[in-house]
């Protein structure tokens, strides 16, 4: 349940912004979650609601966007979408670090972060 740590960190960051002048009411927080993280959006939503309760941002919506994985290959220079493991057991295909072009080991260049992108507010 690492979503709880993530939600707490999210709320702490947003509260830092709320507490800076001018006085504001937060309406929406847009969060981007990388495909290579194992942060579960639904669980995060649940934790967010719990953590924001009785804080200055209670009621502000949390919108979550997925950021696709990207890889780069140091062997052949490929840069782009990863190779997916289609027949793995997962409900969705699994992104791998096998270079789609030469089959050697690629490195992830995008998709392993979790970032607050936009905080929408009205001035009070």
């Amino acid at each position: 349940m690492h979503e709880l740590s993530i939600a707490s960190s999210l709320v702490e960051s947003v509260l830092n912004i709320v507490n800076a002048p001018p006085k504001k009411k937060i309406m929406r927080v847009l969060l981007q979650i990388g495909e290579l993280t194992c942060i579960e959006p639904e669980q995060l939503q649940f934790c967010y609601t719990a953590v924001t309760k009785d804080t200055a941002i209670e009621g502000a919506t949390l919108e979550i966007e997925r950021v696709p994985a990207m890889v780069a290959c140091p062997q052949c220079g490929y840069a782009g979408a990863p190779k997916y493991w289609e027949d793995a057991l997962a409900a969705a295909a699994v992104a791998t670090l096998e270079c789609p072009s030469c089959g050697k080991a690629a490195e992830a260049t995008q998709g392993h972060d979790c970032t607050i992108r936009t905080i929408r507010y009205v001035e009070e």
Partner: protein
Amino acid sequence: MGVLLGKRGGVSGAKLGESVFTGYCLINNFTDPFMIQIEANPEEIYDIELEHSLLEANAKIAKANRAKLDENGITAIDFMGAIGSGKTTLITRLVEKLKDRVGVAVFNGDATTSDDGDPIAAMGVPMVQIATINGCHLDANVVAKACAKIDLAKLRLIFIENIGNLICPAEFPLGSKARVVVVSVTEGPYMVRKHPHMFLGAQLVVINKIELAEVMGVSVEQLINDVHKLKPDMKVIPTSCKTGAGLDEVAAAILAV
């Protein structure tokens, strides 16, 4: 990492999400270095555009841990794996093998008990028990605290046993130089494909309890193939802590990190 306070519509003419720099810095009390505000009327809706990583706070402490360990010539190894995969036994065997050759310490992460750590401490190596209570993973902060509890001089290796969990620890680097995933054949044939994230972030995979593979009807080869599907250059070592198979190879791999 810049922060832009942009207005949604209104007098500046900036579109939502468009970068508009008026060139003066207004608010500095947020953790980001620059924050630029655009003049606007009250009652309007604003969007603060930013790129604030929620994983960064931990990542920063992990980097500091790593720098401190590097300074002392210490390599920390983070052992991750499911409950019962054999992390503790593997660490115990490795400590037995290495403790007379190099300075070894162990940080033992456990939700509540010191059952796993006590036998390691009994071998005479520095051991720090990290009780996470309800926490499902170790983080860089608790590792920093554990580092402060032991004398880092004369140490060459620190083995960190993470909480038995194949999901949560993946997001929280600790400052180790290598992450090892321990997966045992008793967890069934699909452990690797079920937990791809854990393997993508690791440098070494140990497939443990191979003496039980036949009884379990699990193919070690298949597990190795699965790992290589995720990461073709991953070092995978099949081991048995019962028979001792593969343990010298793991010790050598760790000393080579």
